[in-house]
């Protein structure tokens, strides 16, 4: 994922309060983005977005304990058997 696309230059003027933000491969994003310089923008997106959907083939611990949902759902997929995945 190209995290630079989240930089303030690109997202600074975007209003996320009516947005549904979908994050695919949530485990990877959660692990990698925390050390990047675009964290302030990502934090804003997670805080302001109307809904955040975090997807991952595996059940991974969400960060809901740090970003408690207030009127928003943080949804994630349950574990799917990776070998049974067919083309979507």
């Amino acid at each position: 994922m190209c995290y630079e696309s989240l930089s303030d230059y690109h997202t600074g003027k975007v209003d996320f309060s009516n947005a549904v933000v979908v994050v695919d491969e949530w485990a990877g994003v959660r692990a990698e983005i925390i050390g990047k310089s675009v964290m302030p923008e990502f934090e804003r997106i997670l805080t302001e977005a109307q809904t955040v959907v975090a997807l991952d083939a595996f059940w991974v611990m969400q960060i809901a304990i740090f970003f408690p949902p207030t009127g928003r759902a943080i949804a994630s997929s349950w574990i799917r058997h990776p070998a049974s995945h067919r083309s979507l």
């Binding site: 990877g28 925390i34 964290m39 991952d56 083939a57 991974v60 995945h85």
Partner: protein, 493 residues
């Protein structure tokens, strides 16, 4: 699903699986039928290229019969990613994937067998994602060797997590970073959990495989270590040559325009520009030597480039120089970065943590080992664990230093402290050597049985110690032999 184990010459389980790919290839290709197809997935780009070279050079596959997908093949990737089945088609007998092939990639075409080579770069779940690229694969072999585990891994549970989280604001305030960000706790949790994932990567992959695949049996293979290491060396030599032959100006303009390489050749232009930005004088001299020097000079330039391309080695050397030779400009720059955006996982926060620990406690004095001759770990001189007086003194100094205590909310016991000391030494590139030494103990320790079957006791017991080589002797052979030249080049880069 077959879980690979290898053995050392002495017959113990080995942590080194280099060369299992070659052994597997020996069992696959000689007896393969024309329409047999194989897949290799790995988290290691150099391993992918080594396997590719071996398939062409030794197994005798044609270039058209092998597909390699990595960060250095953008032209191939543009064709392959949208339509992998089309690309693989009839003639391809071997597909090699790296994490460049992301989890959306869907390869329906069936494979006879597959091999996964995981050296701990990606977390276990991502390893399974890589295996899952091939939707239909007959038999999988997985190599994910374990890492040696130091004794005394402390527990990291919810209680400890809460305690550390409550001390986190002090840690961030020490460096002048903003506190109270929602992501602060997340960053702490992620960094600490990340260490555990890395340490137990192999066990995690094994567990995940057993959870999601019908059967996982262990197979023991011979590892063709020397052959593979020679192949890896050839790949790295060629990489060095490709970097030195790149077009630095073009690479610099790509970087300036924030463009990624579009053509395969641009990969090397880009890498050269990246390297030149880090070490301008060094690369100017290397390119000069490569282009206009004689055979011997060119060889030297290539070997030196290989060393500078070893990111881990060079980064840790830079960290060492900055810690060991305090420089006002560097220190101020580091301090300013903290005020920008900092959390517990930020690279600049980590750098400041380890620098402070190293300088305040004089950790350089722990590095006493030298090469040449028999290595003697002596707990009174050059080898340490939590019970060594030297470490206990350092622990007391740490506890008296409020800034250090604040910088390291994870440290609560001497075991935590010693772990952090080991991490700091590793961060700064000191090479560690562990070993068991018999030492006097207070309580008589069991020591086998005598000939009548009675339990025997002795005044000594084997204990595990670690020591560190001095900085100038921590690294590859070339690095150690040319340490003065390399460190000088980095100092005035």
């Amino acid at each position: 699903m077959k879980w690979i184990e290898t053995r050392t010459k002495a017959g113990d389980i080995s942590f080194d699986h280099s060369g299992v790919a070659l052994t597997i290839f020996d069992s696959w290709f000689p007896v393969s039928k024309p329409d047999d197809r194989y897949i290799v997935v790995t988290d290691n780009r150099v391993a992918a290229k080594s396997v590719y070279e071996w398939a062409i050079r030794v197994i005798g596959l044609k270039e058209s019969e092998v597909i390699l997908v990595c960060s250095e093949t953008p032209e191939q990737n543009r064709l392959f990613m949208p339509d992998p089945d089309g690309c693989i088609g009839e003639g391809v007998r071997l597909v090699i994937l790296t994490p460049t092939a992301q989890s959306g990639l869907d390869i329906q075409i069936p494979f006879t067998a597959g091999l996964g080579l995981f050296c701990g770069v990606v977390p276990g779940t991502q390893a399974l994602q890589l295996i899952g690229r091939a939707r239909q694969c007959g038999e999988w072999f997985v190599s994910a060797p374990r890492r040696a585990i130091d004794e005394g891994e402390g527990a990291f549970d919810e209680v400890k997590l809460q305690r550390c989280l409550s001390r986190l604001p002090e840690a961030l305030q020490e460096v002048g970073a903003a506190i109270g960000k929602k992501s602060d706790g997340w960053a702490f949790w992620q960094r600490e959990i990340g260490k555990i994932w890395q340490q137990f990567n192999s066990e995690a992959i094994h567990w995940l495989l057993k959870k999601y695949y019908a059967s996982v049996e262990t197979v023991e293979l011979m590892a063709r270590r020397q052959d593979f290491k020679r192949q890896v060396s050839k790949v790295k030599t060629r990489e060095a040559e490709q970097v030195l032959s790149g077009n630095g100006e073009h690479g610099a303009s790509l970087r300036e325009d924030e463009k990624l390489p579009y053509y395969d050749s641009e990969v090397w232009d880009y890498k050269l520009a990246e390297e030149t930005e880090k070490y301008p004088k060094v690369y100017a001299a290397l390119i000069d030597a490569y282009e206009s020097g004689d055979e011997a000079t060119r060889e030297d330039a290539i070997i030196t480039t290989k060393t500078f391309l070893n990111k881990r080695q060079m980064d840790s050397l830079k960290n060492y120089i900055q810690a060991e030779e305090p420089n006002e400009d560097d220190d101020q720059a580091l301090q300013e970065r903290q005020a920008g955006y900092t959390n517990y996982s930020s690279s600049h926060f980590k750098k400041l943590q380890y620098q402070e620990l190293y300088r305040s406690l004089g950790l350089v004095s722990l590095a006493k080992l030298k090469r040449g001759g028999k290595l003697n770990l002596d707990p009174n001189e050059n080898a340490f664990n939590e019970n060594t007086p030297r470490i206990q003194k350092l622990w007391q100094s740490f506890q008296k230093n409020s800034r250090l205590r604040n910088l390291f909310p994870i440290v609560e016991t001497i075991q935590d402290f010693f772990k952090v000391v080991k991490s700091a030494m590793s961060y700064l590139g000191f090479q560690k050597q562990g070993g068991t030494v018999r030492v006097k103990v207070d309580q008589p320790a069991p020591n086998g049985t005598d000939r009548n079957g009675q339990q025997r006791f002795s005044n000594t017991a084997p204990k595990y110690f670690v020591g560190w080589f001095i900085r100038a002797e921590s690294g590859t052979k070339f690095f150690c032999e040319n340490f003065e030249m390399i460190i000088k080049a980095v100092r005035d880069r």
